[in-house]
């Protein structure tokens, strides 16, 4: 089986500060890969590089073997044009920590925007698909609400529907429960779990260790911009091979 996403030797710095130091990772169809690690370890930056929201200096990312973000011509490495970047981004879904819904649009219109303006679907068809996805995340009855009239958990589920409606090859989730009140975390996690069970390929950055353990097919531990350990969640959580992972797990479980 071919990988959907292939990351090789990914390097990223902000000035002299090295954020990613040679990350390599393959994601296969229906994989749910959770990335754990302390804040500042480069997890979010990794996702942002994959979604082409950040430039990176070295290595490569491929989606279905197509190189993302850059073109190599001879020895030159060039960032793609805005239009090409947009085309590639439309094949990857991303859900953010702070939901980032468009406040001037209703839930339904938030989900429809990409369908009409990126996919070019007629309004009626886009509406039908958007309603389907809002129903999928359990918010069919909230479709005409503006984001400000939705709870954090509901907003995050709309954001998930917005990403899924584009039928991405890969869904990136960046700490999607971190901004939520504790009592709202569960509804979002249940939504993500049902996506995992339906075979959605996902790359998840999370601080919810128990969730990572339950939902993922593979867990990756990052530290200082590199992947330190990776494998089955029960192995990483049950028997960490490195001291860094053992220390991290000891810290997060108190």
């Amino acid at each position: 089986m071919d990988a959907i996403l292939t990351i090789k030797g990914l390097e990223k710095s902000f000035g002299a500060h090295r954020i990613l130091a040679g990350v390599a990772l393959d994601v296969f169809p229906s994989d749910v890969v959770s990335i754990i690690g302390a804040s500042g370890s480069g997890k979010t930056t990794l996702l942002r590089c994959v979604d082409l929201l950040e430039e990176f200096q070295g290595g490569e990312i491929r989606l279905d073997s197509e190189m993302l973000g850059y073109r190599i011509s001879g020895s030159q490495r060039r960032r793609l044009s805005g239009r090409e970047l947009a085309r590639q981004r439309a094949r990857i879904g991303m859900v953010f920590q702070s939901y980032n819904l468009f406040p001037h649009l209703t839930a339904l219109r938030n989900v429809m925007l990409g369908l009409t303006k990126v996919r070019g679907l007629p309004n009626a068809e886009a509406r039908g698909r958007a309603e389907h996805w809002l129903d999928r995340v359990g918010l069919a009855d909230r479709r005409d609400r503006y984001p400000s009239a939705l709870s954090g958990g509901q907003q995050q589920r709309v954001a998930i529907a917005r990403a899924l409606a584009m039928e991405p090859r890969l869904l990136l989730l960046d700490e999607v429960t971190s901004a939520l009140d504790p009592e709202l975390v569960q509804e979002v996690l249940l939504t993500v779990r049902s996506l995992a069970e339906a075979g959605t390929t996902m790359l998840i950055v999370t601080h919810e260790m128990r969730f990572a353990r339950q939902v993922s097919t593979r867990t990756v531990f990052m530290d200082a911009g590199a992947i330190v350990e990776s494998g089955r969640p029960e192995d990483l959580f049950g028997a960490p091979k490195t001291k860094r992972l053992a220390d991290f797990l000891a810290n997060v479980s108190h």
């Binding site: 929201l53 947009a86 879904g93 953010f96 925007l113 990126v118 984001p147 400000s148």
Partner: protein, 217 residues
């Protein structure tokens, strides 16, 4: 009162024409100013140094100059270059630029105040920069600056009275001519004040309606 009614009666068609002139000048300047202001505002925000710098200079000069000076300059300065725009053209041009400079600046502020996360979200679903601007950023920025647009329109209506200085037959100049013939100073200044007030209250009411029609958040 009897004399006022007689004078009013004989001057009513001149007043109506002057009122139409004031409304027309203001509407043209506000419409042109909004369009031009949007373009300049976008150039200031996203134009990079090459595009932003000249526009920045124009906006700062216009905003730092009294409107009357702008009006006189746009009427008399072209004559030095051998072009002579009529007073109405010159006056509308000056008001348009004045309006555009203010709108450009408020638009820039509103665009910069939108969290970068909105742009991330728009890009994440595959919108190009142009579509991000058109469907995500501008709709939010325009809602934000709507009260400012109303204020600017009111300012323009008031500033249009300055066009009397270059001989445009708008409300103030026409009123002054009527007063010059009739000496009914109190009555006609009160009347012209009420007419300006009526226009501006209508603008405010229209703005209020628009704000509620296109609700924010």
């Amino acid at each position: 009162m009897g004399k006022f009614l007689t004078v009013f009666d004989s001057a009513s068609s001149a007043l109506a024409a002057a009122f139409a002139m004031t409304v027309g000048i203001s509407a043209a300047a506000v419409a042109g100013g909004i369009l031009l202001g949007l373009v300049i505002g976008l150039a200031l925000t996203y134009g990079g140094r090459v595009l932003a710098l000249p526009f920045r200079a124009v906006v700062d000069i216009v905003r730092g100059t009294p409107v009357l000076v702008l009006i006189l300059a746009s009427y008399y300065m072209p004559a030095g270059l051998g072009v002579s725009p009529g007073p109405v053209t010159a006056g509308v041009a000056a008001l348009t630029i004045f309006c555009a400079a203010h709108i450009a600046e408020t638009l820039r502020g509103a665009l910069l105040a939108i969290p970068a996360a909105q742009t991330d979200a728009a890009r994440a679903i595959g919108l190009t920069f142009g579509k991000t601007l058109g469907y995500v950023l501008l709709p939010q920025a325009l809602r934000q600056i709507a009260p400012n647009l109303v204020n600017t329109a009111v300012e323009i209506v008031k500033a249009s009275s300055l066009l009397s200085a270059i001989g445009v037959g708008e409300l103030l100049l026409t009123t002054q001519e009527i007063i010059g013939r009739s000496f009914l100073t109190m009555e006609f200044y009160a009347l012209v004040g009420l007419l300006y007030l009526a226009v501006n209250l209508s603008i405010s009411a229209g703005g209020w309606w628009l704000e509620h029609r296109f609700r924010l958040r």
